[in-house]
Amino acid sequence: MNRELLLNFAIGLGLPLVAGVALLLDEPFVVTLATRVAILGLAGVGLNLALGLGGLVSFGHAVFFGIGGYAVGVLASHAQLYTPVMTWPFEISGSSSMPAIWLVAIVASALAGLLIGALSLRTSGVYFIMITLAFGQMAYYFAISWPAYGGEDGLSIYVRNSFPRLNTLVPFDFFVVAYCVLLCAILLFSRVAISPFGLALNATRQNLARVQSVGIETYRLQLTAFVLSAVITGLAGALYADLNRYVSPSMLSWTISGEIMIFVILGGVGRTWAPVLGAAVFVILEQWLGGVSEYWQIFLGVILLAVVLFARGGLYGMIAGEARHHG
């Protein structure tokens, strides 16, 4: 078994192990931290699809994260008040069931991904980075200035939404939900990465003109990848809002886009489990350094800088060596 596979198992089994042991030791806070890692990792898996496989450096993934969050906030608040979300052209009522909310989060972030992707993919390289960042900021300011759903103050979700047969208010139960969603996304990512679609997408990252000249429309290909990526990150946003029982424009802020990118790059771009490792390290640093100093982000900055400058390939690159050749 090679080291990459070993590391995958270590992360994949380590996370539920930590949550399980914390449950036995009655440390609900640690369970919640593990849940946070799973959810943030999920957001990173989403970005990794666009960034790692497709080479699309999106600095606007907070949009989808936030849309997922607002799907929860809006539907749950209407469910609490027994008012419909909209009545025309068809009626949508509020909901407090996670699967129903996830569906809405998926559809909404797919539409947003389609719109932002369709415009941003008209360009490439550094333009793409700036444009995705700008659209992210647009969504942020819109959320702040639109008063119907709390504006700058955001929305509180008084009772965590429900999942059939589980009591989501119990930290471990909610961890199980989040972890299972993460596993599904990981499975999806690993299948897509070696599929015909993934092969072509991977090729666009390396040589766009070559891919066009074998008869593949790269714009459509990249747009599909971008939407898929948006959906996964949107789903993560929905879970995150439920974790915190709160959603606000800060979920849409550009720093969230940056953090999601950190998970991916700290872990190792393009590697299946890397965003989860990146998220885990991020959460641990946040807890540990956050306890040492109020200004822990200085240290985060220094570590990040060191990783970019000296440890290319992220933690996965350091531990498991260079990425295996695709497929």
Binding site: T123, V302, L305, R312
Partner: protein, 309 residues
């Protein structure tokens, strides 16, 4: 709505645009010459504002503060260029984004460490504190007119610098071809440092001037940075002229949008709804402008149309 009110808003828009231009000019120069996308440009703006607020408070002179902002931002720029950026020129954009994002964290938290989380305030100097009458019967602050003037002057200066000086020739050569500039025997690392320092000083200047109308606080740079990106997307990467026109477009669109859209919606909705809808749409106006430009000119108004080599 009177003519003087509209004129005042228009001037505000120009002043806002001119300030974004000071940021966008440095960014676009650095990108054009070194191929580097620098997210930490907003931090240099913040450093300029803090330096000017601190020095002005210490010396009691706004102008000492202004000088300090230029010096501090340029020094920070040179330092960052020498320590970090140099290693990034040949890297891909992803590495550049991430490394400069890391710099933002360091600068922001470092500033918070030194100055605390509370905003600082910078007073407008006595000589510039009045208002002058404008056509239509209104008054307009002298200080804001000064910002407009400084911005325009910087624009002219940059134009002159790029088209009529040796440094400018080198900058233009560097934009076209890095090897050519090597062949010309130009010391490329000095050139890069110089360009970076100029860009940094302009960002610091912008931060110091704005510091007197808004509060000086950590995180003030990034929203302006993102606006500068919008400007660059609209104007075209590497084009100072594009940055100038893009900045004015963005500044005026944003200010006039916030001013006119709620008024406009008042024709259809009740006042509260109109304000809400108007301000929500206005907050998106410049991004919609960017989207429209992208649809018709994917490489910006003045960007070089990419030619396949």
């Amino acid at each position: 709505m009177t003519a003087s009110l509209i004129l005042e808003q228009l001037l505000n828009g120009v002043q806002f645009g001119v300030m974004i231009f000071l940021m966008a000019a440095g960014l676009t120069l650095v990108f054009g010459v070194m191929g580097l996308i620098n997210l930490a440009h907003g931090s240099l703006y913040m450093i300029g504002a803090f330096a000017s607020a601190a020095v002005a408070a210490f010396t009691g002179s706004f102008f000492w503060g202004l000088a300090a902002s230029l010096a501090a931002a340029a020094a920070a720029g040179v330092l960052v260029e020498a320590l970090v950026m140099r290693r990034l020129y040949d890297r891909d954009h992803l590495d550049q984004v991430l490394a400069t994002f890391a710099l933002i964290l360091i600068f922001s938290e470092g500033t918070r460490w030194v100055f605390g989380s509370f905003p600082l305030y910078l007073d407008i100097p006595e000589v510039l504190s009045g208002a002058v009458p404008i056509p239509g019967g209104g008054q307009y602050p002298v200080y804001r007119l000064c910002i407009i003037f400084v911005g325009l002057a910087v624009g002219v200066l940059l134009y002159w610098l790029i088209h009529h000086t040796r440094l400018g020739i080198r900058i233009r050569a560097g934009e076209n071809d890095r090897e050519m500039i090597d062949a010309l025997g130009v010391n490329i690392s000095k050139l890069y440092t110089a360009v970076f320092a100029i860009g940094a000083a302009l960002a610091g200047l912008a931060g110091a001037m704005v510091g007197a109308i808004q509060s000086v606080q950590v995180g003030m740079g990034e929203p302006v940075l993102i606006l500068a990106f919008v400007v660059i997307v609209i104007g075209g990467i590497g084009s100072i002229r594009g940055a100038f026109i893009g900045s004015l477009l963005v500044g005026v669109t944003d200010t006039m949008g916030r001013f006119l859209l709620p008024e406009f919606f008042r024709l259809f909705f009740d006042p509260a709804g109109a304000t809400a809808a108007g301000s929500a749409i206005a907050s998106m106006a410049i991004y919609l402008l960017m989207a429209v430009v992208l649809i018709f000119r994917p490489s910006g108004l003045f960007g070089a149309r990419r030619v396949e080599s």
